[in-house]
Subunit: 345 residues, 2 copies
């Protein structure tokens, strides 16, 4: 089976966006607050809302998408802590409904109610709640300011309560920022990619995985700039007297394949060990058009992987399925329970 | 001849760093202010200070380095406007001395006395002064906050007074941030690369070169993440209803080759037209060690270029010399005057 580890619910029903509008309008005028968090959506409406993704899975030959709320919609920098808690809960509940209704197509990843300046301890109840619902991972935002980078680096003890809980729950975190409120920093064109690069460099500077040898991070968007500048990062690790990247980070850090052209994908699979690459497309995501140079969708990332001749069948299995089962052990267990085990190691 | 367009004065004499210490100490205790901006350095001391670069030029087969003050030392977020003016002036004067003493080895690029929240109009007197001294370009910092991104995007009219003057003076700007005061953002490992990516995306979003068809920007460090994510950027330009990247940006935007491994260099030269790539090494810069995988210095970037078989001799001339003469016309004129013209077009 083919597992796409990076999909967002970017086709959410209008009722969900209307709820958010009312919720934020309620900050200015309490009379506008939504009176209920029940969006009144039927199962059919939920199923219909994700048909674009289901059709693309079929057209592109993938089976299961690891599915989380719209990244730019998380909006950790927006509103109060109570607003964020309510919004995360509702967003996660929507993901849960999708994944419960279409368990062969979608597996759930949650958003956390992170708040700028508030200890991420506040996320633990929601983390435990979604683990109970069968979620297989979370998105962790390293910059809750939305583009000004006021949080401590990911290696800081500030984040440790979340890491302890993630390890306990056997959940990986995708390091994924939300929208940018900074006019200098475009969200999908700069903030996302910069966050990937920044997180990778933070991890080089620290020794996080000495304290959390079981913790797993996925850095999306092909690792930001890291693979393109792999020599720079190998060299910086040396200058900082760290072990090699392989020893220092690659037991714990993984990259997805959200890179939208063949030369980029080729570089990724050349410099990063195949054990550290997980198939992802960000579908439906940042770039939705057809590439006039190829006639195919930019984000049909499997096509690029298919064209890379140097990957063996064993490599392809790891990249398209096996690594996802290792990094998301809760998903692997769910699939095995449903009669879909992975290949024996 | 081979022109390295990206070198910084990272071997400055101790007297320069001592001056800066006193200058900043003077903010807290005026009694510690330096009493003179004359560092008392002899010509021999200046020449000696750049011998590491001269030796590396010889060892690596380059001829001339376009040379600017230490990037992390610009420190636009540090101190008052008066302190920044004095520091820029002194830093530029040091570059001028190096380039006057060793005109066959170094050509001058200046730093600007940018100040957070202050219109960059304040840079024009220094820009005119260094043009008078024969400088061939400047470094322009798109984030004077030092890692929090509080300046307007480069496409904003805020920056136009500097652009008007640069065009008038026929000077390109390298878009280069200074050090990071943000503990989340490592300077050479995240801030520099992110700034390149951010600037490129800002330029995609705007229409700057409609207003300034003669303005030229160099985005260093191989363009940040842009070439690795070239498909993403082509797709984002489409989504934003912009012309192709080639039409929209590539008459005005150039990348250097500061990419420290062969796969990255290969990608750069595969996706970016050779007319838009200028040889650079950032020597002595971000990464100073020898790559154990190759036995050569990470930043000996010419070695990677030499290994790329698909480049023709004409391509190599453009990349190693011709493009630099086009992007830095003042340098080309200076070289021609000294009996070193470029190849006829």
């Amino acid at each position: 089976m083919i597992i796409d580890i990076h999909g967002h619910y970017t086709t959410e029903p209008a009722a969900m966006l209307q709820f958010r509008d009312k919720q934020l309008a309620g900050l200015a005028d309490p009379g506008r607050r939504p009176t209920t968090s029940d969006l009144g959506l039927s199962d059919d409406e939920i199923i219909k809302s994700v048909q674009p993704q289901v059709k693309m899975q079929q057209a592109r030959g993938s089976d299961l998408t690891i599915f989380s709320p719209r990244a730019a919609g998380m909006g950790h920098h927006v509103g109060t802590e109570a607003v964020g808690q309510e919004w995360s809960r509702l967003s996660n509940d929507m993901i849960h409904r999708v994944c419960t209704l279409l368990p062969d197509n979608f597996a759930a990843v949650g958003q956390l109610p992170q708040v700028p300046g508030v200890s991420p301890k506040n996320c633990i109840p929601e983390l435990e709640r979604i683990a109970g619902l069968g979620f297989v991972g979370v998105n962790l935002n390293p910059d809750t300011s939305g583009g000004h980078w006021n949080d401590p680096p990911l290696t800081d003890r500030y984040w440790y309560p979340v890491y302890e809980k993630l390890v306990e729950l056997k959940m990986p975190a995708m390091i994924h920022v939300t929208g940018s409120c900074n006019p200098a920093v475009h969200h999908t064109g700069a903030h996302y990619i910069n966050a990937d690069t920044t997180a990778f460099m933070q991890l080089i500077q620290g020794n996080l995985f000495k304290d959390f040898p079981e913790l797993k991070f996925v850095i999306p968007h092909g690792g930001g700039a890291a693979p393109y500048h792999w020599g720079r990062y190998r060299g910086l690790a040396m200058m900082l007297k760290k072990p090699t990247l392989a020893e220092h980070l690659l037991k714990n850090v993984f990259f997805d394949t959200c890179v939208y052209h063949l030369p980029g994908m080729s570089l990724l699979t050349e410099v990063v060990p195949v054990d550290n690459i997980l198939f992802g497309s960000e579908m439906l995501g940042a770039v939705r058009d057809i590439d006039p140079e190829t006639g195919n969708y930019f984000d049909d990332t499997k096509r690029y992987i298919d064209q890379i001749g140097r990957l063996s069948d064993a490599d392809r299995y790891k990249l398209l399925e096996g690594n996802a089962r290792k990094v998301y052990p809760r998903l692997d267990a769910q699939l095995a329970k449903r009669g879909k085990p992975g290949r024996p190691a």
